[in-house]
């Protein structure tokens, strides 16, 4: 009964553990795995195909680039935080509605 009720939760936990294990094995077995973003890998591929250096691809519309990877991480965290706030707020709102409903 318990197993059936929490089937999805159990599958999720197993999947997350499997995902971590997969990452650990890849990172230890694959020499030279840099874990660069696929966007970056894609751009390098374009540069390689066209024989035009990556730096020569100039923005069509100029854009602000985060000055460092740390600042980029901070902004990504901000994005996740915005999402997390909304999700948490709504789940709390629904929970309250259910209790008072």
């Amino acid at each position: 009964m318990m197993l059936r009720k929490y089937r999805l939760e159990i599958i999720s936990v197993i999947a997350v553990i499997g995902f971590c294990a997969l990452f650990l094995s890849t990172s230890s077995l694959m020499a030279g795995a840099e874990f660069a973003g696929s966007d970056t890998v894609g751009s390098s591929q374009i540069a390689e195909m066209t024989g035009k250096a990556e730096e020569d691809y100039q923005p069509l519309i100029s854009q602000w680039v985060p000055p460092s990877g740390d600042i980029e991480s901070a902004l990504f965290a901000l994005q996740a935080a915005i999402g997390g706030l909304i999700v948490g707020w709504v789940f709390g709102y629904w929970k309250g509605q259910k209790k008072n409903g």
């Binding site: 999947a15 994005q79 915005i82 999402g83 709102y93």
Partner: protein, 230 residues
């Protein structure tokens, strides 16, 4: 899935913008209609949109030795359809192009087509196909989410292959190359995203099944049955 700023020739950048804009416009119109009909749809939009914000901010490592973002769009496509999903994606992608230099303003059209339109459209299509069948509701959500994720990256590969056909082998060999970079990396991420968002859907069913019934996301019997089980 972001095509970086400057990496699409002008004509392609314009082309994808032209494809994206009408879809976005229709999404805004639909969104207005849904919210006017039922204000309680707004919190649900907050949850599914919130997860697009969260998941698309995470760069996860994959078996190919590179990293990529999940998209989070599938659940929104199931609840609200692909057009409203494209509106939420437009907000996320604008944020990322302005503050993170992930994708740019000229390539926003192309990125919107992949993440906000084609991906959700495929996920939504699978969901529509399975919605009224005997297939388990959670399995349906899982498939919709995972496929929306994968096809976002398939679309990015298509966009790049169209803009940069290989000298030998042309479009097809170029597509294979880009699929190897984008779609392959994405497979484990799509699976894990599918599972996580299915779990989220389970909690929505447990907490607020009424809104799913009112928006006619799944047949009422399916939702009630799942609710009594949870």
């Amino acid at each position: 899935m972001h095509v970086m700023e400057g990496f699409l020739p002008l004509q392609w950048a314009v082309f994808w913008w032209v494809v994206a804009l009408p879809c976005l416009g229709y999404g805004v119109y639909q969104l207005k209609k849904v919210l006017e009909a039922d204000r309680e749809a707004l919190p649900l939009l907050g949850v599914v949109g919130g997860f697009i914000f969260i998941l698309s901010s995470l760069k996860l490592p994959s078996v190919t030795g590179s990293c990529s973002h999940p998209t989070g769009t599938g659940l929104s496509a199931v609840c609200f359809g692909p057009w409203i999903t494209s509106v939420v994606c437009a907000i996320v992608l604008l944020f990322q192009s302005l503050f993170l230099a992930h994708g740019g303003l000229s390539t926003l059209g192309a990125n919107l087509v992949s993440m906000g339109i084609v991906g959700p459209l495929i996920g939504w299509g699978i969901y529509r196909l399975l919605r009224n069948t005997k297939v388990n509701m959670y399995l349906t959500v899982f498939l919709a989410v995972a496929l929306a994720d994968i096809f976002t990256y398939v679309t990015t590969s298509l966009e790049l292959a169209l803009a940069y056909p290989a000298e030998v082998g042309g479009f097809v060999s170029s597509l294979v190359l880009f699929l190897g970079i984008f779609a392959l990396t994405q497979v484990p991420l799509a699976v894990i995203e599918g599972i996580i968002l299915t779990l989220v859907f389970k909690y929505i069913v447990a907490l607020k099944p009424d809104i799913l019934v009112r928006l006619n996301v799944f047949p009422e019997e399916k939702i009630r049955a799942a609710q009594s089980e949870a």
